[in-house]
């Protein structure tokens, strides 16, 4: 069934729902690359106008990727909670946008609604929203998760300490970890991207962080972000794995290109739950996503990159993750061209994930071939801080010397916490005070070279 709208006596027609969603998407290079973007500015507004009138119920009938050929569509439809959906089942996409912005849409009601919303519904409504709308509604969503501390409480902002090193040298990694801890970072996770997927190198890093964590009784969790099959192998060998990491996408084919499927994720999830290493809770998964990953795997199925991204959240949601992170600007300018597109995409991803009930964080980042710089990251960091983002990255000087891109620094985290009065996870906040790293107000204190974290660390 074609979708239509008329603007100034000209009628625009859109063949199907996935075309309508693509054409209604704010401009980004990846949709142009895919040949899916609106041809003109007015066609984009016409698509948004038509999309506003689409009843939400249609999204349960007209599927953007067929149920029979895609296990994520299957997951979305099979786990849709009709009861949770009932209160808004008479809405159009436009009705949902207006209602979300009203005071009646409270934190409690939004949480109840999450299971009744599909990724496509949420992607659709985000396409009708301005940046301020995305911020306003995301701020009302509360998603709290636990492993050894509590992430996502109101007034808190956590950081993933990312101490990467080009050769995975344990001493080089440890130096960056100590730097981060002494700047108050690391409560979301201490998470290393390994340079190689070699199981024994990964195990060495896992033992190193685990020793450090136990020695100093740091209330946080660790993760080496290797392929899930490697993590499975390590768990079976009783290597200390806290969180299971995996990059995920929103189509079955994207996930195949990553060498994963839902059954494999499920197997790893169950295995990690069995280890029972959490103390405050048992959210054991860490997922990373990012607009454009489906197209870059030639697996977007004619669906725009933002809708594909939202569908990845259906995958994440099934496994009650501790952390979900959109690595927004890492993919490059052919998907998100400049600071403007990166900022918009990050706010969309954060909004969509939160509305679907996920503990969303953001790697506020860019590559050197994108039209972006640290000023754009400051803008995005400030917006996400205001929007109530669960966590951001903390990297020494914002410069990842292994992955060769720029993100946010430990200093950036201190900036946003101070500016907005945000604190780390409560357990970690208490630890920072106990260690003399931060004062009662959360201000970082200078430490002497005989500080306990520095003992024997210089050899």
């Amino acid at each position: 069934m074609p979708y239509k709208s008329t603007i100034k006596n000209i009628t625009y027609s859109f063949a199907d729902l996935k075309t309508l969603l693509a054409k209604a998407t704010p401009l980004r290079s990846g949709d142009v690359l895919a040949g899916l973007a609106a041809d003109t500015y007015i066609e984009r507004v016409a698509a948004q106008t038509a999309l506003a009138d689409v009843p939400l119920k249609i999204f349960l009938e007209e599927l953007v990727i067929p149920y029979e050929t895609d296990e994520i569509t299957m997951l979305i439809i099979d786990t849709h909670d009709a009861n949770a959906f009932l209160p808004i089942s008479h809405f159009t996409v436009g009705d949902l946008r207006d209602w979300l912005l009203c005071d009646e849409a409270t934190t409690g009601i939004l949480a109840l609604l999450a299971a009744g919303l599909t990724p496509e519904m949420v992607a659709a409504v985000s396409k009708l929203m301005r940046n301020q709308d995305l911020i306003t509604v995301a701020k009302k969503c509360s998603v709290i998760t636990k492993f050894r501390n509590t992430i996502g409480l109101p007034g808190r902002l956590s950081t993933r300490l990312q101490p990467n090193h080009p050769t995975d040298d344990p001493r080089g990694v440890a130096a960056s970890i100590i730097d981060g801890l002494l700047y108050g970072s690391g409560d979301a996770v201490i998470g290393i991207n390994p340079a190689t997927d070699n199981p024994s190198a990964v195990a060495t890093l896992l033992y190193m962080i685990d020793d450090l964590r136990q020695k100093y009784e740091i209330p946080t969790q660790s993760c080496v972000l290797c392929h899930i099959t490697t993590t499975l192998e390590l768990m079976q060998r009783n290597i200390p794995v806290d969180l299971v990491f995996q990059s995920i996408g929103g189509t079955e084919k994207t996930n195949s290109s990553f060498g994963i499927n839902l059954a494999l994720l499920n197997e790893a999830h169950l295995c990690a739950l069995e280890l029972n290493r959490g103390t405050t809770g048992n959210n054991v998964m860490y997922f990373e996503t990012g607009q454009g990953n489906a197209l870059s795997a030639n697996a977007n199925e004619g669906v725009d990159q933002q809708t594909c991204e939202a569908r990845a959240y259906a995958v994440a949601r099934k496994f009650n993750p501790l952390l979900v992170n959109t690595v927004v600007g890492f993919i490059g300018p052919e998907y998100l061209f400049d600071g403007k597109q990166i900022i918009r995409a990050a706010l969309e991803d954060h909004f969509c994930a939160k509305l679907l009930g996920l503990p969303m964080g953001c790697d506020i980042c860019y590559t050197n071939h994108a039209e972006a710089d640290q000023d754009d990251m400051d803008t995005l960091l400030t917006l996400l801080g205001v929007a109530g983002c669960n966590f951001i990255m903390g990297i020494p000087g914002a410069d990842d010397i292994m992955l060769n891109y720029q993100s946010t620094s430990f200093h950036d985290a201190l900036y946003i916490r101070k500016l907005l009065g945000l604190k780390p996870a409560p357990e970690f906040e208490a630890w920072l005070k106990k260690q003399g790293i931060a004062d009662d107000g959360g201000n970082i204190l200078p430490v002497a070279n005989n500080h306990t974290l520095l003992l024997n660390s210089f050899e």
Binding site: D169, E334, Q374, P396, D399
Partner: protein, 256 residues
């Protein structure tokens, strides 16, 4: 009249863990001005970023490359992808992976040949200007000793890795080696990569290539080391008639 307050210059205290810098090139122990990065550090970061940005927009120095390659006594063919300029190159990777019509006409396979070397600017043309000739010098002499036949050297502007598949295929080469500028990082703005594909044809994906990355002279892989590694992989590819992930698996099988 009220006395104005005395204001002292900010003293940026050194972080006590500065000795840890010897373990990593990461920007650790950089101190704070309030919560911010001290200005001197910030300016250093800006300079590094500027260098990386300039690297992306630099151009392949075809004249200098040609002069450097003349010692090898091989014909040189000059090619161009379908991306007309850098902006298009950045937005349309598909165009950077295919040759333009004029270039296609320049390539004809008269007979089957063993190896084709394809030099493409990629995301750091300067890296290619700097390291192509030194790597080729070592690599070509090893290939000549092993009696591999060598196709004319191709220099491709606005090219991505996969353009080597089309080029190698049109040259009738059994194997292609692409020299390409890697995405610049702050600490290594001029880094080159080598991609080796056995039986290059249009449509190959990254799993079917060997890759040697991080070739540069600032703590990276030296041209000589890169050439040695590349030659080993080339021999392997000819032995197995395969390159990339599957070849790697085959090589590992006997050990397991």
């Amino acid at each position: 009249m009220k006395q104005p307050p005395t204001i002292l210059k900010t003293n940026i205290a050194e972080d006590a863990w500065k000795p840890l810098k010897k373990f990593t090139n990461a920007r650790i122990a950089i101190g704070r001005a309030g919560n911010a990065v001290p200005l001197a550090e910030d300016l250093q970061f800006r300079a590094d970023h500027a260098q990386a940005r300039d690297a992306v927009f630099a151009e392949l120095n075809v004249e200098q490359l040609t002069a450097g390659l003349s010692q090898f006594n091989l014909p040189i063919i000059y090619l161009q992808s379908r991306a007309g300029n850098r902006q298009e190159y950045l937005k349309r990777p598909d165009k950077g992976r295919t040759l333009n019509d004029e270039s296609i006409k320049k390539l004809t396979a008269e007979k089957k040949i063993d190896i084709s070397f394809i030099i493409a600017d990629g995301l750091s043309p300067r890296a290619v200007n700097l390291y192509t000739q030194p790597v080729l010098q070592y690599l070509l002499s090893m290939c000549n000793d092993a009696r591999f036949s060598i196709a004319p050297i191709c220099i491709v502007q606005q090219g991505r890795v996969a353009i080597g598949d089309e080029t190698g295929m049109l040259l009738g080469a059994s194997l292609s080696v692409v020299f390409i500028g890697e995405r610049p990082g702050l600490s290594s703005p001029h880094s080159m990569g080598l991609y080796i594909s056995y039986n290059p044809v249009i449509g190959l994906t990254d799993e079917s290539r060997y890759c040697i990355s991080n070739i540069h002279t600032h703590g990276g892989l030296s041209p000589q080391e890169a050439a040695t590694q590349a030659f080993t992989l080339i021999q392997n590819a000819f032995d197995l008639k395969l390159s990339g992930v599957n070849a790697k698996k085959q090589r590992q099988l006997p050990k397991e």
